[in-house]
Amino acid sequence: MAEVFIDGIRYEYEGEHRLLQFIQDLGKEVPFFCYHPSMSAPANCRQCMVKVGQPVKDRETGEYELDENGERVIRWFPKLQTSCNIMIADGMVVHTQETDDLVKRAQKDNLELILINHPLDCPICDQAGECPLQIQTYKYGPEGSRFEVKKVHKPKRVQLGPRVILDAERCINCTRCVRFTDEISKTHQLTITSRGDKNYPIAAPGREFDDPYSLNTVDLCPVGALTSADFRFKARVWEMNQTPSIDVTNAKGSNIDLWTRDNLVLRITPRYNGEVNDHWMPDEGREAYRLFNENRVSKPRQKLDNEQVNSSWNNAVATLLEQLEGVDKQDVAIIGSPHASVEENYILGKFASLMGMNQPVFTSQIEKGKGDGFLITDDLAPNANGCRLLGFEEKDSKSIAAIVKKARVVLLLSDHLVDRGVLSAENLADTFVAVFATNHSETTKLANLVVPITCAAEHAASYVNIDGRIQRTFPAKETKYTNRRLDFEMSEGRLDRYGTSFDNWITEDNKVDCMPLWRFMSSLAEESGLENFSLSSGREIMEEISELVPAFEGVSYEVMDEQAGILLQGVSKTVKS
């Protein structure tokens, strides 16, 4: 097998590898800025310098030439090489900064040069704490600077587009952002302007950087040159908790991280999943963080004398039970939701069948022509495939309206059908409508009973994306009834771990008074005398689903976590994107 020697250790390899990526995959490190595994390697930051040599082979025999000690004779490249654009070759000998002083020196020299025109305004820079330049400088940089003359001044606070702001002085010209628009989003909206130490990225004159994926450049930027217009100055990264989750704004199910502080989601960034979204996500998905914080339904609400007022959980259970018992079972319409998780839909379906009611139906939310074949889909809901796999019947708007009209009690799972235009206020006029919702809307306004349920940022639940891949979320923010220190699934940031009860950075204000749907349904089932209904977590529900629903066979949270989602077989080709 082909072999390569890195810092004196022999490694075997197969196939083609970039040297830098190979070193990284081994868990070793070489500092770099411009390289990105999903884009071309321009080798322009010159930071990943290593010493590279190739053994000398005898031309006739093809054998390695040996010196008097029996060691292979190595022909070194005359100059240091950037490891990002060198492909490893059989017999290659590499020395990184760990074993070669010249390499170490070159990396230090390069950092000194990168920093001479960098403003060094880390204390007010949003990137601080997650800044490759800051990290590499601490690790490999010089202790001080010998630069005693004036720095170059470049434009600051440039609004490149609606969502991205440029500070050109911080830019180190790695061209990652430019390459992103050229190679990944293919809008070609950014370029480098000016020459030499005056250059910086910008959109064409009179154009704005309104790429639907523009915020990825903020993640890519290895310094604080590109910042998010929305998130900048909101929080320091080390104060936030980072929780893996799934984008629920469309059917692609991009893998994301939710960044929370004091139980508010402050920003959303993409998380790598080579099978789904690589390193990227659409801007729309990031703006969804507001849905987790704002306009939330907190406490059940009930209509009294045509006016919605706050109610209690006991009251909500009792009211709903009363309504369900007061009508014929066939007069209850249960509407599932492509916006809710597999677990939530399942529990609704389970309740319906145990009670002998009609199985839930659902309607998908499609906006024709919105999809771009990349990470934005026509389907605006994250889990239409989940509903289909659970066996829910898919209905068009008209049929849903007819079903609602016919029914006397409607259970509606977090789908704002009035806002979507599927239902009108008249459709709901003579019916008792109970809505399980996360956010207020026109639909919840019309409801007789609004039960607040946890959102994707508050519970662990799974979603089946457009390609049939089931992936799950983790609870990122606490509700009134959860506790970060007790729930092992929840991330615990620095502030949570080292804080005391006297600290004022965690308040009760941002905890929503809501419950997971299964918790509410369990109470309801218990009150209605159903046995064997108690299901206490998403994990437990998924275990039951995988046992009872053939399409979900073998699915469990453990396997999903290990494999970054599971591709389900039951999704038909016509359903796929």
């Binding site: 390697a41 321009p42 080798a43 322009n44 930051c45 010159r46 930071q47 310098m49 005359p78 100059k79 240091l80 654009n85 070159a106 020299d109 390069n110 000194e112 040069l113 990168i114 001479i116 025109n117 010998r146 630069f147 003359v149 004036k150 170059v152 180190i172 010209n173 370029t191 480098i192 000016s194 020459r195 030499g196 130490d197 005056k198 250059n199």
Partner: protein, 431 residues
Amino acid sequence: MSAVDWKNYEPVLIPNIADLDKIDVYIKNGGYSALKSVLTDKSKWPDPKSVINEVKDANIRGRGGAGFNAGLKWSFMPPADGGPRYLACNGDESEPGTFKDRKIFEYNPHVFIEGALIAAYAMQITTIYVYIRGEYKAYIRMMEKALQDAYDKGMIGKNIMGSDFSVDFYVTGGAGAYICGEETSMLESLEGKRGYPRVKPPFPAQKGLWGRPTTINNIETLAHVTSVINRGADWFKSIGAETHPGPILYGISGHVNRPGVYELPSGVPVLDLIHEVAGGIRNGKKLKAVIPGGSSTPVVRADSLDGITMDADSLREVGTMLGTAGMVVMDEDTDMVDMLWRITHFYHHESCGQCTPCREGTGWLEKIMLKIKNGEGEIKDLDLLLDITTQMEGRTICALADAAAWPVRHTITRFRDEFEARCKKSVHAVA
């Protein structure tokens, strides 16, 4: 080293013939006979390969500065696969002190055009581009005119001279960037992109213009091809220095009485060039220093020039290079600090900004030089300058960082006393 007989040399690229830029005059004086011979004389040139071999044998070392054997470069082109292949002629000529190609554009454009056509035939190339620096507006127009004339005479186009060889020839103007003289950034510029040098490998012969095999030659190099075909490789090799043969267009500027472009054999003694060819130093002053081949070649002190000739080997002895043979002559009144500041200013202005060491280093060099020039420098700044040059050299994609670093390093080490005299007195006691 044998003395080169330069006094009896008859110029072939820029002979003393009036109106040679007109195609009729050029043809009357034997023009396009080399092309005709290559295309039609099957006994002498059985196949394109034979042309490459002749040029390789002549050892025309690239006149753009790198000095690589042109024929050898041609032989790197992969075999023709039916797809487009390009010849890109580099007339960017933006190295300070260099102005030889403009003489060809202005005075004898067809000798270059003919050479390019021969090169295209030898490498089975279908399209030729000539890239001329943007500042040469007049020459871009002249070249367009010359190409149109050649098209009209049937020298360019379909089935040239009845052969099955067809080629197209285009002129492209630069937009005023020094970096576009670097061969791969010239390709980027030709493609309509920002002039950023490309990472090599892949080399242009594999993936050049629009990802297709491309050869890049200097204008003067291609002009020499015409004379090699006309007079043979042996004639070419018999001229000038052994390891760097053939005529060279010397562009002599600076404090001399007769600055200009002179076509002479390679290997002319530097002092002969200054004192005899260029008429000696202005106002009877003494010679102080010479930059032999464009601003990036290290400056040489006058006192080390005895017996040094204009060829790569001899110049290496005094720690410099032939470069483009654009010689800058400086008399005893020249302020080396000012001179070096001007050079650092140039490279700071022209660095494309792609690689860190060059982008940041060139600016730093200039700012320190400005400080020293204004009398505010300190001795430690000189050592810092030398340090920065080592931080830049050999660590970038193209050679601009080297070109910026060498003059600084060598001017300071060779004229250190002058630099120290301009610095502030050290506040530290010297033991």
